[in-house]
Amino acid sequence: MLSHVGFREVRWGRQVDVFSGSKHESDAKEFDTRGVTFAGVKPT
């Protein structure tokens, strides 16, 4: 999706089990949901 929009040099950071211990934990686990940070560049 990001490359489709036009971004390049897309990088992904570490994933975090961000809902662990929260009220949303069971729903999040059902779909193996993770928090993640990503970055990309608009070409020149």
Partner: protein
Amino acid sequence: MVQQVSPAKVDREQLRRQISKKYTDVALDPGKGFHFHTGRPLAMMLGYDPRDVDRLPASTVASFAGTGNPFSMGRLNTGEMVVDVGCGAGFDTLQGAMQVGPSGRLIAVDMTAAMREKTRAGAAEGALGNVEVRDGYAEDLPVEDACVDVVISNGVINLTPDKVGAMAEVYRVLKPGGRFQIGDIVVHREVPQDAKDDIDLWSG
């Protein structure tokens, strides 16, 4: 790693109202308890530098909600023009404003009035005159074309039914060579269409 997904069939205006109501609670009553983590414990889970967090107003930290750490992909540079999409309480906005310094600028966009007020109050408390708060949506940013060095966002794109449209807005406002650094969520198992269409699951 990320699957291309079919769009959700939700009423966008209803979804916005519901999400805005939820995040008004996060702004005004952060200790209420939510289906997601908030505040300093969340910030530590996401790897924020405790020294950066300690520099923020306590009320800003208390109402922090996010799913990643945009600054884990690199700190901002002095003088950069930055947009924070869905700034919430201003947790990332204020850190970004400190990083870019007085010669830089942070435009913080959020659709929830209580969050915008919280960001304004935090910027005032921190004497950060380089923060400007605007009312707007991720899919229709109140920002001119190609004028931004960096777009940051945290836990917001997943709340928009039109994710391609939201990222296209990020692309539109960035200068050529500009970058985005976004925290969000990914799912590794396909979400059934009926779950995607259930508006209650979007905002908890």
